[in-house]
């Protein structure tokens, strides 16, 4: 379980996250939505160990991730991350991306890579390099790479941004069939309400550095929650 308590973080004196609490169970699907600049990427980076929080605690599977200025390294956290951009390694073929990640799992590299290439529909692209891929294909590789890590939790930071509807549907299917089905805990952050609705699962709203229950929206777009939550 990922357990976050009173997490605060800021940049140049400006608070971004303020006393944030969060729980994510294995197998749970949690979607966090929020406007640009709300702190969604910062939250993902803190959970991944790419940034050290100013205060608060992060526990993954009952192990504290940091103490003072020391923290557990990202690769030892049993998490995988899909970033806002594909962030592929330009010199590596598609299959090499999966091999690089799978080599850290202790599993048989070749068979794992073959299975994931098949499952994600990337077999025909396995010998291509990133610049030979379309944006949608590159995102698919990024998700496949995250699957290859066989981690307990997957963090997705707006992985579908800037894609057309058809590419989005394909990748949603991939996420549903290969991530949710494996019992991984999934934390998906987005600024797109449609994406959040499509993915389902628990939903929270990041605003003013904290997580809030999402204000439900009626068919015509009018808020159907109380004024206190709606005002957020």
């Amino acid at each position: 379980m990922i357990k976050v308590q009173s997490l605060s973080h800021g940049f140049s004196g400006q608070p971004v996250l303020d006393q944030l609490d969060l729980d994510l169970e294995p197998g749970e699907k949690l979607v966090i939505s929020g406007k640009s600049g709300a702190g969604k990427t910062t939250l993902i980076r803190l959970l991944a160990g790419l940034e050290l929080p100013d205060s608060g605690s992060i526990e993954i599977d009952d192990i504290s991730m940091h103490s003072g200025s020391a923290m557990v390294a990202p690769h030892q956290r049993s998490i995988s991350v899909v970033f806002q951009r594909p962030a592929l390694w330009q010199h590596m073929k598609v299959s090499a991306h999966l091999e690089f990640v799978a080599s850290g799992t202790g599993q048989k590299k070749e068979s794992t890579v073959r299975e994931i290439l098949q499952a994600t529909g990337l077999e025909s692209l396995k010998d291509r390099r990133p610049h030979q891929l379309s944006e949608g294909q590159a995102r698919r590789v990024a998700i496949a790479r995250a699957i290859a890590a066989q981690a307990n939790y997957m963090l997705m930071d707006e992985p579908l941004v800037n894609l057309d509807q058809e590419a989005k549907s394909d990748l949603f299917e991939l996420i549903e069939s290969h991530i949710v089905a494996t019992g991984m805990g999934l934390l998906f952050v987005t600024h797109d309400e449609t994406e959040a609705e499509l993915l389902g699962g628990s939903r929270l709203w990041l605003r003013q550095g904290r997580l809030w229950p999402t204000p439900a929206v009626g068919r015509a777009g009018e808020s159907i929650v109380g004024p206190a939550v709606a005002s957020l």
């Binding site: 790419l50 390294a73 995988s80 962030a87 592929l88 390694w89 610049h131 944006e135």
Partner: protein
């Protein structure tokens, strides 16, 4: 600190490298503290004569830099507008002399001035030749800056303003960090240069430091005399580093297509004249080398000339091979941890005049008792590393800082340790690493100032050999040596510019290189 990662070797290696760079200065400072009672601390204050000389050297370097920028900015703007292979070739040729040692420029200009019966002494001549020698560096800085400018922003501005206004209001401000960094490094190099002014009988503050050590032999006195120049150099190095830290990312690549538009005739005329001036260093160098050979009935290089070239190349290669990995280590640490102490190490290495680091190296190794260091290449090699490591660190820091951090972060999620360096980082910055390698080799091959102090008896570096011939009368045997050195330098300079282009393209491709099925 990160749990579970073996960071101890990296910390130790960083301390060793930092120690290697700072040791000569630290030794001099320690000696200064121990002998503080018996030495004249007033030497640190330059006095009227020294103050005037320092001001003159500063003014000289400032004028060189400003004049260089006045030519480099309009010339680079026109060179960037030339599209296709011809544009690439023109830019490459204009940049190629960047690694040619200043004394070769001096040689070529002396020949040219003699052939037209003009004076080869005085402020104006020295100033013009120094400006010509520094122009390729400034041109490279402006071109690098323009490479970082987003053509989309420029094209958007062209809808509302003319070419000249767009260039000065939109393009130039975006290129400013690289231009400032280049200008400040030119100031540092020019302030610490004494070989070229000496050939034109000009006295500079950098020469004063060398003279102090040559006459008194006191490394502490040399430190005190050098202190004002070191502080001045540190100031410009700090500005250069701050500018490099604010380099924008290459967000798009492509020509602006501005050549298709008509512009103010004065703007185009000035740019054309600037390009003509920008090519003058290359043309004069080639003319000078040919004139030297044809004019003196030069004999081929003697065996001793070849031996000097081979010895210098071997030291330069060894220094480069040692310096680049050390610099990469420091650059990674600077990028990740931004430790002020590491910045200090880099600053000291860049700002230390060659005479001072030479005096410090001699002191250091005589304390350690390195007898062997005096007999072979050890001492020149150690001295060169003091200056080369910080320079390469600065270059690699800029490259690492500018590479896309997301692929690196993505790799960190799954692995740690050296595998990340070899499998991910190296491929992100390989043009920068190769460029740094060639730059260091090009700078250390004809190295003069350190070699004058640190070369062992019987060893003649190629820089010393050429300088002595130029200083005390040209000798036909050195003509081919000069031509060889010139060609090697031009080749290395051109390659460095190509590597910078590859690096910019690589950074761009990491960020936006998809959608090309």
């Amino acid at each position: 600190m990160i749990f579970g990662q073996t960071r101890f070797p990296a910390i130790v290696a960083t301390i060793v490298v930092a120690g290697l760079v700072c040791a000569p200065l630290l030794v001099l400072c320690m000696e200064l503290l121990w002998t503080a009672d018996s030495i004249n601390l007033g030497k640190a204050w330059p006095g009227t004569r020294g103050g005037l000389l320092l001001f003159e050297s500063f003014f000289f370097s400032l004028c060189v830099t400003i004049l260089g920028l006045m030519v480099a900015i309009p010339a680079a703007s026109l060179l960037m507008d030339v599209t296709g292979y011809s544009g690439q070739l023109l830019r490459l040729l204009a940049i190629a002399p960047v690694t040619v040692p200043p004394f070769l420029h001096a040689m070529a200009w002396q020949r040219l001035l003699e052939s037209i019966g003009a004076s080869t002494q005085g402020f104006a001549v020295t100033f013009a030749v120094e400006a010509a020698a520094r122009l390729p560096l400034l041109l490279a800085a402006v071109l690098i800056g323009l490479h970082f400018v987003d053509p989309r922003a420029r094209n958007a501005a062209l809808i509302y303003a003319g070419r000249a206004r767009t260039f000065f209001s939109i393009t130039l401000p975006q290129a400013r960090p690289a231009i400032i960094a280049g200008a400040c490094m030119t100031m540092v190099f020019s302030l610490n240069e004494y070989g070229l002014p000496a050939l034109f009988q000009r006295h500079t503050y950098a020469l004063e430091i060398f003279a102090e050590y040559s006459v008194s032999g006191s490394s502490v006195d040399t430190l005190l005399v050098a202190l004002p120049l070191v502080l001045l150099s540190i100031l410009f190095a700090v500005i250069a580093i701050r500018a490099l830290s604010s380099l924008p990312s290459p967000v798009a690549i492509g020509s602006s297509g501005q050549t298709l538009l008509a512009g103010p005739w004065l703007y185009d005329l000035l740019r054309t004249l600037a390009v003509a001036v920008a090519f003058s260093p290359l043309l004069v160098l080639l003319w000078g080398a040919v004139a030297l050979i044809t004019g003196s009935g030069a004999a081929p290089i003697s065996m001793t000339g070849f031996a000097a070239m081979a010895d210098s190349a071997a030291i330069a290669l060894a220094a480069t091979i040692m310096a680049v990995p050390c610099a990469w280590l420091l650059a990674e640490n600077l990028h990740r941890h931004r430790l002020p102490v590491l910045w200090l190490v880099v600053l000291i290495g860049i700002a230390l005049p060659a005479s001072l680091s030479g005096a410090g190296s001699i002191r250091l190794w005589s304390w350690i008792g390195g007898e062997l260091m005096y007999k072979g290449w050890g001492l020149p090699l150690a001295g060169m590393l003091v200056g080369l490591i910080p320079l390469a660190t600065l270059l690699l820091y800029a490259v690492i800082r500018n590479s896309d951090h997301l692929p690196w972060d993505a790799a960190r999620v799954y692995h740690s340790g050296p595998i990340l360096w070899w499998k991910i980082r190296l491929f992100q910055i390989w043009p920068g690493v190769i460029g740094a390698f060639f730059l260091l080799f090009a700078l250390s091959l004809p190295e003069l100032e350190l070699s004058l102090l640190l070369s062992p008896p019987g060893f003649s570096a190629v820089g010393i050999r050429i300088f002595n011939y130029l200083h005390y009368g040209a000798h036909e045997q050195v003509a081919y040596l000069i031509l060889l050195l010139l060609l090697v330098s031009l080749l290395l300079g051109g390659t460095i510019y190509q590597m910078i282009r590859y690096q910019v393209r690589l950074d761009y491709r990491e960020r936006e290189g998809y959608n090309k099925p």
